[in-house]
Symmetry: C2
């Protein structure tokens, strides 16, 4: 399909392109247009039917949108923007350089402009920033038939018609009515008799991640958003909630890997931007890892007496780091899914202690067996008569390191959340650095005690 269209573009067969694209989905058209040469892009975009063109425009990434806006006449720009829903308009303006944003705003009527500026003012992570202002509002003294008339009248321009909002004169939200309710009730029934007054809603300043969580919990298609005075100001639709869920998961995963989150996809982020998102944590962690070096330096002379101890350092550090990150990542995800809160901390610690005991016993035992069998019989690197104390040191260290690693791993994210930090930052790399230092201290302490050095 894609290749066929590219051939048609080269052959300038625009009528056929229009025909082909008109049958396609906006998201797919936007994907195809991504690979169209910049010079041809405005031409192809202009041959799309008007309504479809706006739907495609929304699906494009901001660089392509900017390119098109710069190619548009004022009239074309107005036409495209008029078809957009308010939340999409605001998203687009948000991504544009100031001069382009200004030009867009100049092409909107004063009312819309005021609305856009209001929406732009909501913080990036708030419900207000993802809501749209086009919805079907009803009055409680309407009949079902009147409600259908209103839907027919304003429904074309609203993002969803399936949930309608019943408001009073001062726009306070009284109830919600679904089109399903309307269809299953007689035509002359009053809205106030069928509306659901048990409403799940958000405030404009609520965290958008929590709002997305409400969709997951209550299986809704749209959620009303009210201002401080409890007046209905907009709705969030389920497609935006899905986007938020995906973005937040990506952000958490990036933070867990010690990357500053970016809101662009992999190939859209330039080398320099990728570098800047990765270097701060790498640098911080490298510098803190030198503390571990200092611990070793202190023990250097004793290590030269028992050089076999050096060989176990990587294994102990890695196992400690992995154990700790298992706990921290589990807890971070549980916090973000709402399964774990600060009040659960003792329950979490108690569970992690028992898991840690199982893990550390199992690993210490396996390690002991491996040394006695593989290393002794096969590799001949191990002399039980001479090295039993050294092995005891390694297995004991393994035991305590895992215990400490899991405790540090499960508590740090909870404390981070409590003091207002992002728990996701307390993941693997951070925990690894802390656990490395702790495991070395444990290792050397035990070595001093057991080996008497």
């Amino acid at each position: 399909m894609q290749e066929e269209i590219f051939e048609l573009i080269e052959g300038k067969k625009y009528a056929r392109i229009r025909e082909l694209l008109s049958e396609m989905n906006p998201a797919d058209i936007a994907l195809i247009l991504e690979d169209v040469p910049e010079r041809e892009l405005p031409v192809i975009f202009r041959i799309l039917p008007k309504e479809l063109a706006s739907e495609v425009f929304v699906e494009m990434d901001s660089e392509m949108q900017q390119l098109l806006i710069e190619a548009f006449s004022d009239k074309e720009l107005r036409e495209v923007m008029n078809e957009l829903f308010m939340d999409d308009t605001v998203d687009i303006i948000d991504e544009m350089p100031a001069s382009v944003a200004k030009r867009i705003l100049q092409q909107t009527d004063p009312n819309t402009r005021r609305m856009i500026n209001q929406l732009l003012a909501y913080p990036d992570d708030s419900a207000g920033s993802i809501m749209t202002t086009e919805y079907v509002d009803l009055k409680k003294d309407m009949t079902v038939d009147m409600a259908f008339d209103r839907i027919r009248k304003i429904g074309v321009d609203t993002e969803t018609i399936y949930t309608c909002y019943v408001i009073d004169q001062s726009r306070h939200l009284l109830g919600i009515v679904s089109v399903k309710d309307l269809l299953l009730n007689p035509k002359d029934k009053l809205i106030e008799e069928i509306m659901d007054e048990n409403i799940i809603f958000a405030n404009t300043l609520d965290d958008k991640e929590e709002v997305a969580g409400l969709f997951e919990k209550y299986d809704m298609l749209a959620l009303p958003v009210v201002d401080k005075e409890n007046r209905l100001v907009g709705i969030v639709t389920v497609d935006d909630a899905i986007d938020v869920i995906q973005e937040e998961a990506t952000e958490d995963i990036e933070k867990m890997a010690a990357i500053l989150p970016s809101d662009k996809s992999y190939f859209r982020t330039g080398v320099w931007a990728t570098f800047r998102s990765r270097i701060p944590w790498l640098m911080l962690l490298m510098i803190s890892a030198t503390f571990t070096g200092a611990i070793i330096s202190n023990f250097e002379e004793k290590l030269t007496v028992f050089p076999a101890l050096i060989a176990f350092i990587p294994m102990l550090m890695d196992t400690g780091g992995n154990s700790g990150s298992q706990s921290s990542v589990t807890i971070i995800r549980a916090i973000s899914l709402g399964d774990v809160e600060f009040k659960d901390i003792l329950k979490v610690i108690w569970k992690e202690i028992r898991v840690a005991l199982c893990c550390s016993l199992a690993l210490a035992a396996i390690n002991f067996l491996k040394l006695l069998t593989v290393d002794y019989y096969i590799l001949h690197t191990f002399d039980p008569g001479k090295q039993i104390p050294e092995i005891a040191v390694v297995c004991l260290t393994l035991f305590f390191t895992i215990l400490v690693a899991k405790l540090v791993g499960c508590t740090l994210p909870i404390f981070a959340k409590k003091i207002g930090f992002d728990p996701a930052v307390m993941a693997s790399p951070f925990i690894t650095t802390i656990v490395d230092a702790i495991s070395l201290v444990i290792y050397f302490r035990i070595a001093i005690m057991v080996l008497g050095i």
Copy 2:
């Protein structure tokens, strides 16, 4: 609210409980019932209005469901199950022990039973396993008015009425019509004139993660699912797609932290189950980390000549591991969001090489400066006259380790995906173990060359 209800339960004020609960949302009621003593649970459940009771039942976790089923009479069981949608019924049966599942199946009529068994047969990760079989089907020669009649007739028992599916006599999918289309068209218009024939659909055996991705891409409320002969067999609704998106993100995060994924929340997973999900990777990674030990053993004698080199081992290993996991996690997420495919591998490598060069130059330079300033002037642990060659070794190693770590980190997930492995497994812990070994080899090679040992 919760406390008020518990007090009412103790006072056996059932009428008031019914009144309070009837105004609440099923998901919230299920949460409250979680904390009700097991003995009281069936009593409280029975006072709920029938339809609400079934909605609450779906929101409960499987242990509570089992408890209730065991308390139900056959008649009660039939009543609850009759109200459920097919996908929920199948999910519940899937979680029950064989004897309970058998009892449920015995209470359903032969037709439903056959349908349930069919749905149970779909693989766990397929579109078939999350679809439901209740939807509104229309014929193309119906008018808009007839379509509304059909919706009114069967709409109560379907999971969504907002997208209707136009099928022919052998249930082949011809098009879709939304209720919005129906409302905005005259009553006598034929369905075939307004239906959308450009349908996005899934096959029963498609991966459910990919199906959820379609919802994200095309902003749909429901997706039709067809069998091998292209006959419509069910639909997936957006609420199930959201659940899949969250589950898959959790699963990816768990795999990235070297945990075998579980489908239960943190506190629902017992200590033993948590232990079993964590120990396999810990054990494997511990054993592979002993290879790193073997590399050090080989170099042991030389290390005792330059003991200062030992202190840098943790910093080099950690920095390498962190660099590698940044790349691998970024690529794993990009793969699962569909941004990176196998054909992009050269583009990925080229980008990662440039990012790695920036990172390694920056970190090597910072490390060099730190040694020359902090360690020399403040800590007095560094003697430039004597240790310049050692420092050169460390900085050179840092440079090459980061380069290699990023290359390994970005390519392994792509290859894993190519050969049918799960890329998420190639994350931090796995990469760390590989990069540790590589960084030590690089370190000692460079030490031998520069220091001439």
